[in-house]
């Protein structure tokens, strides 16, 4: 048992630290640190810088731009990226569709899509969920009927994150309506410019536009856009969802938020002194720090054990990381809300009235605290809700 990194791993970490701080524009990292809205351009810029350095897709096969890193290196990479408040490479590209195409796609698909996906020349979105198929994803109804060498797709996808920016969407569609639920599903790549696709924005409670509904009205999709075999889509989706085991907990992000809350508490007046002088507040911070450390070591154990893992055995690791990781992310947003306190109540419009030049009563960062808290309720809902994760542990692992 050894917790410390080797000297090589430390050098690897320090190189990454330097790279992230020096190469990713500070303005973009500041937005991430403050939990503010990122423009499409910010995400593209950042991913292209990573990609130029060969760092956008380390989890891919080496032949397609991946890195032959040890699990520990991978872990350090994710961790440092989050701590430096670098926007994560677009999840849909890097952790979802990229690995699926690399593993199950045809040679043509690999050539056509992988380099462009790595460089974010193609922006992907994920078309899995539907209004009637959330936790029960396999009940999805969007259908793709084969006709004259094409698929004709009709139906509706819901919750399509950043679909408004997307060039392509990867979808689960029903290709066999007779087969049992999971059996009749295929994995289809669809150009968002195809006639018959409509994207409708869905505004979230924090006022942001990050999700959409996507409607398909007899959309023609060339048969060559099918990934792998017809009716095997569920297997590819399972592969996709199991793929990113160690990034899921977002420990680096929570650490960065917690560190920020501590700094802000030191700058925030409360009573006779500063909020940081308040032992009740510090105790709560300490509680979250203890939880984070426990999760961090849990994650390291998962990473270290990946070497000798029998992939057929049920493993609760992903579910543990998801449940605890999302709870801690939410706890850090609650902490920031607490620091902002009453100054989090106003939601100032950005334009000030003519002639208003009074310094603000509330600190400039405080108006982002409540929207961030509201928005982060999502992390225990999506990606398999925390209830579904508990079901997985109870059923698949505990045999209950």
């Amino acid at each position: 048992m050894e917790l410390r990194f080797t000297p090589e791993e430390i050098a690897f970490r320090d190189d990454l630290r330097r790279f992230f701080r020096e190469k990713i524009p500070a303005e973009i990292r500041r937005k991430v640190a403050e939990g503010r809205h990122l423009e499409k351009e910010d995400i593209v810029t950042s991913q292209r810088i990573l990609n130029a350095a060969g760092l956008a897709t380390p989890n891919w096969p080496v032949a397609w731009g991946g890195k032959d890193w040890t699990p520990v290196q991978r872990y350090i990479f994710t961790e440092e990226m989050q701590r430096a408040a670098v926007p994560l490479p677009l999840q849909f590209n890097v952790f979802m569709v990229g690995p699926v195409i690399a593993a199950f796609g045809s040679e043509e698909q690999k050539k056509k899509f992988l380099p462009a996906t790595a460089n974010l020349d193609i922006w992907w979105c994920q078309g899995f969920s539907e209004p009637g198929a959330g936790s029960d994803l396999a009940s999805l109804k969007t259908r793709a009927d084969k006709k004259d060498g094409k698929y004709i797709v009709s139906g509706q996808k819901a919750w399509t994150t950043l679909g408004q920016h997307a060039d392509w969407i990867f979808c689960l569609v029903r290709t066999d309506r007779e087969a049992k639920k999971q059996r009749g599903i295929s994995f289809l790549l669809i150009d968002m410019k195809s006639p018959g696709i409509t994207v409708r924005p869905v505004i979230t409670i924090d006022g942001g536009h990050e999700v959409n509904e996507v409607f398909f009205d007899d959309v023609e999709v060339p048969a060559e856009n099918l990934v792998g075999e017809e009716n095997k889509g569920w297997d590819y989706a399972k592969f996709l969802l199991a793929n990113e085991r160690t990034g899921i907990a977002r420990i680096g992000l929570s650490k960065q938020r917690l560190a920020r809350a501590k700094r802000l508490a030191r700058e925030t007046e409360s009573g006779d002194g500063m909020l940081w002088d308040d032992p009740d507040f510090r105790r709560r911070v300490a509680e979250i720090e203890v939880g984070l450390k426990a999760l961090e070591i849990t994650q390291m154990r998962v990473v270290a054990n990946q070497r000798h893992r029998d992939s057929d055995k049920p493993d609760p690791a992903s579910s543990i990381l998801k449940i605890k990781g999302s709870e801690l992310q939410q706890a850090t947003t609650e902490l920031l809300l607490e620091v902002a306190g009453p100054y989090a109540i106003p939601a100032p419009e950005h334009d000030q009235p003519e002639g208003w030049n009074e310094p603000a009563v509330a600190p400039a960062w405080a108006d982002a605290a409540a929207p961030l808290y509201f928005n982060y309720r999502k992390v225990s809902i999506y990606g398999g809700s925390n209830e579904i994760q508990r079901n997985i542990i109870a059923k698949a692992f505990l045999g209950l």
């Binding site: 969920s129 009637g132 959330g134 936790s135 029960d136 009940s139 819901a158 919750w159 869905v202 505004i203 979230t204 409670i205 006022g207 999700v211 925030t268 007046e269 409360s270 009573g271 006779d272 909020l275 308040d278 009740d280 507040f281 809300l337 607490e338 306190g341 009453p342 100054y343 989090a344 109540i345 106003p346 939601a347 100032p348 419009e349 000030q352 009235p353 208003w356 009074e358 310094p359 603000a360 009563v361 509330a362 409540a370 929207p371 808290y373 509201f374 309720r377 999502k378 225990s380 809902i381 999506y382 809700s385 925390n386 209830e387 508990r390 079901n391």
Partner: protein
């Protein structure tokens, strides 16, 4: 011991419940923005603005229980109207501390709906402490001159009349030396920047730059404004507890309804025991909040601060706790739909969160309970 409403209170509740059913706000619905002026006039017509004032002053002589009935209904209907700043806070200041002349001048205008008020108290450094005041008031002949800045003033962008805490003597955090002023919202030297709050109400930053206030507009005793302000804020806290209670009840109802109708895996999700227990816990939290909102209503007019303060603080601490868990659980049990602006649940969650941060968070109030020696006598 009696937790029942009187016959009059029951009638009031029925009429306001009907009103709220007709005027409930649905922020996610498309269509024209609600007409705030018309809403305020109908609230006036219903007689709700007259509730806490004595009959001689044109009121109906109601107490905190009547106020609770109104606020609970406003919370349940997500209704945004400056009832708390005008009737509860502004009216509270006039009732509990106004001179004869001030009451005669302003209360009838509140009752007929022509005057709105706001309480300008919070400052850059004050956080939740009412006595932390740097806004300065200097005597000059037969008036005072006010200088300073206030923030997060609920209803402050359009209020006709402001109650302002200012320092007439002492240091920043001294309990003595605070004086309350009635300041015309449009007086020379008052500038305001209005903005929405996170839950769609209105708040303002207000700056006072050499604002001249006649000595006749001092509310209560010079240098002795804090006890009055504390009492009025306690009355407002009781009202806020009721608003949150109303919001929680409705949010819980929405959630239970959704559990019964949403189907996944071929069954209503409410058939999963994991979710049933959570909905049951939500009910426990709502009922704990209801009890404490009632407790607050029964204690709000107690003039002995040593009795009243820990009771009100305890109520707000409990209601905050319940609000946090009911809000979060409601969103979680709904799943993604509660994350959308179009659906109502998220707006209740935001109203509850905003109310939590008004006039003291949970820690602030737990500390007040602690400093008062707790609630349970040692035997």
């Amino acid at each position: 011991m009696d937790f029942d409403l009187t016959e009059e209170q029951r009638l009031l509740k029925e009429s306001i419940d009907r009103f709220v059913a007709d005027n409930a706000r649905d922020p996610g619905a498309h269509g024209a923005a609600p007409d705030d002026k018309a809403l305020w006039s109908s609230i006036a017509e219903l007689g709700l603005l007259a509730i806490p004032f004595s009959e001689e002053e044109g009121g109906i002589g109601g107490g905190p229980v009547e106020t609770m009935i109104v606020m609970e209904a406003l919370g349940r209907g997500l209704i945004n109207a400056p009832y708390l700043p005008t009737v509860v806070l502004g009216g509270g200041f006039l009732r509990l501390g106004g001179s004869e002349a001030q009451r005669q001048e302003f209360i009838p205008q509140i009752v007929d709906g022509s005057l709105t008020m706001a309480f300008a108290q919070l400052e850059k450094q004050s956080r939740y402490d009412l006595h932390d005041v740097t806004t300065n008031a200097k005597r000059d002949g037969d008036s005072y001159v006010l200088d300073g800045r206030k923030g997060v003033v609920l209803g402050g962008d359009t209020a006709d009349l402001l109650v302002v805490t200012a320092r007439t003597s002492g240091a920043r955090r001294d309990e003595k030396g605070i004086t309350l002023f009635l300041v015309d919202g449009n007086a020379e030297g008052v500038s305001r920047r209005g903005m929405p709050s996170q839950d769609g109400q209105r708040v303002a930053e207000i700056s006072f730059d050499n604002v001249r206030v006649p000595a006749g507009r001092v509310l209560g005793a010079v240098d002795g404004g804090l006890p009055l302000a504390t009492h009025v804020v306690d009355v407002a806290l009781a009202a806020l507890c009721a608003d949150s209670l109303g919001a929680m009840e409705e949010l819980h109802r929405l959630t239970v309804d959704y559990l019964k109708t949403r189907q996944q895996f071929g069954v209503a999700i409410g058939s999963f025991q994991a979710l049933q227990h959570r909905a049951a816990d939500m009910l426990v939290a709502v009922e704990q909040a209801r009890s404490m909102a009632m407790y607050a209503a029964m204690m709000a007019e107690e003039s002995d601060a040593a009795e009243r303060r820990p009771a009100i603080a305890a109520a707000k601490a409990q209601v905050n706790r319940s609000a946090r868990s009911v809000g979060q659980e409601a969103v979680q049990l709904h799943g993604g739909i509660a994350m959308t602006w179009e659906y109502k649940a998220g707006h209740y969650f935001k109203r509850l969160t905003t109310a939590e941060l008004m006039f003291g968070d949970t820690d602030h109030h737990l500390r007040a309970v602690m400093e008062a020696g707790g609630l349970v006598e040692e035997v």
